[in-house]
């Protein structure tokens, strides 16, 4: 099974039923796998803040939603993370493509890569780097459960390599 398949299997086994997304090259591959799942609904949104609110709405209604976006989009989300997710203590699980780190071959992503983890730390968000040598599905389940338990965001950072 591909890494994308293992990540989607993790979403399914964690009880996630909806993935809201703005794609980039990597997240687009992951969403293609989401669309093949009979257990997940893919919701294409126009901006990343919408994805956060949609996923929170799923959680408010008793389900489990996930946000699949690029780190550029995550950086857009400071306002809604403060004004919705943190203020109302809502679970919100993210899978975020970590563009611009040493593994990313595309030069123009580097400025985002330099600030992503620093921003997550500054915002006080729990996060982890996906480890493709380990059990990716378990890493997803851990993140979903951590978000639910803390009623807070949890961000799993992935690379293109993790999807292969």
């Amino acid at each position: 099974m591909t890494g994308a398949g293992r990540i989607v299997a993790g979403l399914e086994s964690a009880g996630v039923t909806l993935a809201a997304s703005v794609p980039d090259t990597w997240i687009g591959k992951l969403m293609a796998e989401v669309r093949r799942s009979p257990h997940l609904r893919a919701v294409d949104v126009a901006r990343e803040e919408e994805a956060v609110a949609v996923a929170c709405g799923v959680n408010l209604a008793g389900g489990r939603g996930a946000v699949l976006i690029q780190n550029a989009g995550l950086l857009n989300c400071g306002g809604i993370l403060g004004g919705l997710v943190a203020l109302y203590r809502l679970p919100c699980f993210f899978i975020v493509s970590l563009r611009g780190d040493a593994r990313d071959p595309i030069f123009y992503h580097q400025p985002k890569g330099k600030v992503t983890e620093a921003t997550l730390k500054a915002w006080g968000l729990a996060y982890a780097l996906a480890d493709r040598s380990g059990d990716l599905a378990a890493q997803v389940r851990t993140g979903v459960e951590a978000a639910a338990a803390a009623r807070a965001p949890y961000v799993l950072l992935i690379s293109g390599e993790d999807l292969a």
């Binding site: 039923t17 909806l18 809201a20 609904r41 919701v43 294409d44 949104v45 126009a46 901006r47 803040e49 919408e50 994805a51 956060v52 609110a53 949609v54 996923a55 929170c56 709405g57 799923v58 959680n59 408010l60 209604a61 008793g62 389900g63 939603g65 306002g79 809604i80 403060g82 004004g83 919705l84 203020l87 109302y88 203590r89 809502l90």
Partner: protein
């Protein structure tokens, strides 16, 4: 032009216990705790632009409930993209009520950028076919009945008067209380 409160009263009278109300920040959220709302309410005190996508997530998860999102023109001007998102998702059970008064009421009554935005046309252009303008509170229940029966996303545009002297109650519920009470 009518003010907000008669429309809000008409909406509250129309709601059923199995409906769901998601409210934007501002006057709506400040009034709702003081009104006899029979349905679950999630009313925000921050988060401009979050009401419609939050309601979309609820609607897609609970297709057995009719979800009403309240949003203001200032919030929607900040993120009109959400109209296309709703059109793409095509929830059969989501109605958006858009209050149009041309002002950022909750932040002191500043005017929106003075562009003559055609809100019904904007919603239609984004792909929402069912858009209706409601100008009288007495017509709101019929418009909502139509939205409930239509089984497609609906936007109801409500032009309302801006009254800087309106006495709106302050926020009276803490966010954690709102989250804890919201159960479907």
């Amino acid at each position: 032009m009518t003010g907000r409160k008669p429309f809000l009263d008409a909406l509250v009278a129309w709601l059923r216990p199995d409906d769901v109300l998601i409210s934007c920040l501002g006057a709506n959220a400040r009034w709702l705790p003081h009104l006899p709302v029979r349905s679950p309410v999630f009313a925000m005190c921050d988060s401009m632009s979050a009401a419609i996508p939050l309601a979309l997530g609820v609607a897609l998860t609970r297709p057995d409930r009719h979800v009403i999102a309240l949003e203001g023109d200032g919030s929607l001007l900040m993120s009109p993209n959400v109209l296309a998102t709703v059109a793409a998702a095509r929830p059969a059970n989501l109605t958006t009520i858009l209050w149009v008064n041309g002002h950022y009421e909750s932040s002191g009554g500043q005017s929106l950028p003075p562009a003559p935005v055609d809100w019904p046309a904007l919603a239609r252009a984004a792909g929402i076919a069912r858009v209706e303008t409601v100008t009288e509170p007495g017509a709101l229940a019929q418009a909502l009945d139509g939205a409930r029966a239509a089984r497609e996303p609906t936007v109801l545009v409500l032009p309302i008067a801006f009254d800087p002297a309106e006495e709106i109650p302050p926020y009276s519920e803490r966010p954690e209380e709102i989250t804890a009470r919201f159960r479907l």
